[in-house]
């Protein structure tokens, strides 16, 4: 088993005929993901990804014809909130929104509607997820992974690749690796992911990669202290040198009014018994020190 995605994932790509949809869609297929459909309004009936995937006008058509249960959104920011709603209305259970640059206030009603419908949204502004050896959804390079039993959850993209590569190089494989997104308003939080990993019999240990801004890491630490003391964990927090009041690339990565600092997050995680690496390369040793075997 893995979380979010696995062998039973049947993926529809929203925006499959665009440049990003085509490039990453091809990489997902080659990784072995069951990409069963794509949608682009007006291009229903065509085939995408070298003729390997049928294109539908709507997500509802894709679900009806192919049984898609997961979607991955590469639609530009102006149309992305609507794309999430289209997936929700078509009954998609797990929705990954890769799109960056969606105005934060647009996501407030969308996240609420996703929740009310009982679906799950990951992102926006996220790299997606990989369950090594089973499926990959999004833009994480498949080559960095190794099959294994460590769950990875992160707010970042390339920083996650760095950490995962360090783990794979050290012989530590992953059960599922997910980027939850760098925006202030996102569908799935650290705590949501920790709950999924906690319930997954194939996840023995967890790596949490956070960054400055907000209080999601502090909440994750509090949740771990209460519910997850027995699982080996390691963490990394980016932005120890970030100045106050400046948005560090990600819309959500900002220290304001003295809150959201790396120091506060590191202190909260360590108080919960989670060791925080000072470089991603230290993560494998910390995991082993915390009791991970292998």
């Amino acid at each position: 088993m893995s979380v979010l995605i696995g062998r039973d994932t049947r993926l529809a790509i929203q925006g499959i005929t665009g440049r990003e949809g085509t490039f990453h869609g091809t990489a997902m297929l080659e990784y072995g993901t069951a990409v069963v459909a794509g949608s682009t309004p007006g291009k229903g009936g065509q085939r995408a990804l070298d003729g390997r995937v049928p294109v539908f006008d709507t997500v509802a058509d894709a679900v009806r014809e192919t049984g898609a249960n997961t979607s991955c959104i590469f639609v530009p920011a102006a149309g992305a909130p609507d794309a999430v709603m289209e997936a929700v209305d078509a009954g998609i259970a797990t929705i990954f929104c890769i799109t960056e640059g969606i105005p934060a206030l647009d996501m407030i009603p969308v996240v609420e509607a996703v929740r009310a419908a009982g679906s799950r949204l990951i992102g926006p502004n996220c790299p997606g997820a990989t369950s090594p050896g089973k499926a990959k959804v999004g833009i994480i390079p498949g080559s960095i992974h190794r099959e294994g039993r460590v769950g990875v959850v992160s707010r970042s993209g390339t920083l996650t690749y760095e950490a995962v590569q360090a783990m794979s190089d050290a012989g530590i494989g992953q059960s599922t690796c997910v980027g939850i997104g760098g925006d202030p308003i996102i569908g799935t939080t650290f705590v949501d992911m920790l709950q999924l990993f906690a319930d997954d019999p194939e996840t023995d240990a967890i790596v949490l990669i956070g960054e400055i801004g907000g209080a999601a890491e502090e909440q994750a630490a509090a949740w771990v202290a209460e519910h997850l003391r027995d699982r080996p964990m390691a963490a990394f927090i980016a932005g120890r040198t970030a100045p106050e009041g400046k948005r560090m690339g990600h819309a959500g990565a900002i220290i304001s009014g003295g809150s959201g600092t790396a120091g506060s997050k590191v202190a909260a995680l360590e108080a919960a018994g989670i060791r925080v690496a000072s470089s991603p390369t230290e993560l494998p040793a910390i995991l082993r020190g915390a009791g991970l075997r292998g």
Binding site: A242, K246, G249
Partner: protein
């Protein structure tokens, strides 16, 4: 994007919020003329405030009262040109000094955890809300707006009463609704009034009326929404816009100048922050945050290099690329081209892994670049290079 107090007040006025009249002056003479007009309306004194996009203006001496037009001119002369947290004051706001009975704090912000707009208020106005949160958290009143409908009438009313504004509840509820409306109309991350004040106004016959008004305004706009608000670009303060900020924006590069000596070029925001942190851990100081974004091509790399080198303090450059969508060989070509045309020779340490990293390594080796395998090694080498040591 932060906007100046005067522009923030204009946005509030457009939503029907009560804001006492103000003028903006760029010279002592303009300030004098503005003060004369305000005194003509019956004001006893005027307040002159530095217009800069940093907090703590009052403490820095950037907010002063003046009792007559001469005094206003001298005061403006003092404030204009003043340095507040590294920013030169180029304009001031002039308004009638209010007779303040009591000050409150009121703000609409994004609540990330609840995924709602959060209304936050306190009867301890005029001080930073962080200070109140630390010393007297019970004085802070909060309320979350409806995710679909915004702030409802009954929510605004109950908020006014909880703020202790029973005598002014209609005004307070209207202002609370106005803040959330301003936030939604302009895609703001923050709309803050500090202080919101009960002010005493005297009529012609000497009778007094107490009114609730917005005495200050701070608004931060969501950068992701600038595209759908064509008017917002005009609110960008070009006085405080560094030329490098402008170049970075035009090239779609995320760039923040810092005080150190080691320039950083990275793909991805989280990795860019991590690279800065590792420079610091290795004993150096990062000169900047720079994220060239996903899929960056050679020309973008050259622009990024120019941005880094425009800072004369930079004595070494660390390039860290984890290729996913970004192709390592493209970045390597961009670096080689950038170094060929750059005006200043600064030691550079390059680490490229991921997509097409082997091609990149060969290109860099042929061009005699210093390379590194791991991120830790790259940071150590860059710090050594910045000190003029062998790498």
């Amino acid at each position: 994007m932060k906007i100046q107090e005067a522009d923030a007040k204009s946005l509030l006025v457009a939503q029907g919020l009560p804001v006492p009249a103000w003028e903006v002056a760029r010279t002592p003479q303009e300030a004098r003329a503005a003060a004369e007009r305000i005194f003509a309306t019956g004001a006893d004194s005027v307040v002159i405030k530095a217009l800069v996009l940093v907090g703590g203006r009052g403490k820095a001496g950037g907010v002063k009262l003046a009792a007559d037009a001469d005094h206003a001119e001298r005061t403006a002369d003092l404030i204009l040109g003043m340095d507040i947290k590294g920013i030169t004051v180029r304009k001031v706001l002039v308004a009638a000094a209010a007779d303040i009975i009591k000050e409150y704090y009121l703000a609409a912000v994004l609540d990330r955890d609840a995924r709602r707009i959060l209304l936050m208020g306190s009867s301890e106005g005029g001080v930073e809300i962080e200070h109140v949160a630390a010393t007297n958290p019970d004085a802070i009143v909060t309320l979350r707006a409806h995710p679909y409908l915004g702030l409802l009438e009954h929510q605004a009313r109950s908020f006014a009463f909880r703020m202790g504004l029973s005598e002014h509840w209609r005004e307070a509820a209207a202002i609370a609704k106005g803040l959330v409306a301003t936030m939604r109309a302009h895609d703001a991350d923050l709309v803050e009034i500090n202080p919101l004040g009960i002010v005493r106004e005297r009529g012609q016959g000497g009778e007094t009326t107490d009114r609730l008004v917005c005495l200050d305004a701070k608004i931060t706009l969501d950068d992701s929404a600038l595209g759908r608000h064509p008017g917002h670009e005009a609110l960008r303060d070009l006085d405080e816009d560094d030329p490098t900020d402008r170049q970075a924006r035009q090239a779609d590069i995320s760039f923040i100048k810092l005080d150190g000596t080691i320039g950083c070029m990275v793909n991805g925001a989280g990795l860019a922050m991590t690279t800065m942190d590792l420079v610091k851990r290795a004993g150096g100081e990062p000169a900047n945050f720079l994220d060239i974004g996903g899929g960056a091509r050679a020309d973008k790399v050259a622009t990024a290099m120019r941005l880094i080198l425009s800072d004369s303090k930079v004595s070494a450059i660390l390039v860290n690329i984890f290729g996913g969508i970004t192709r390592g060989d493209e970045v390597a070509r961009g670096l080689i081209e950038a170094r060929r045309v750059q005006s200043r020779d600064v030691p550079m340490v390059v680490r490229i892994v991921g997509t097409n990293a082997e091609d990149a390594g060969r290109l860099l080796q042929e061009a005699n670049f210093e390379t590194a395998g791991s991120l830790d090694e790259a940071a150590d080498k860059a710090v050594a290079a910045s000190r003029g040591g062998a790498t």
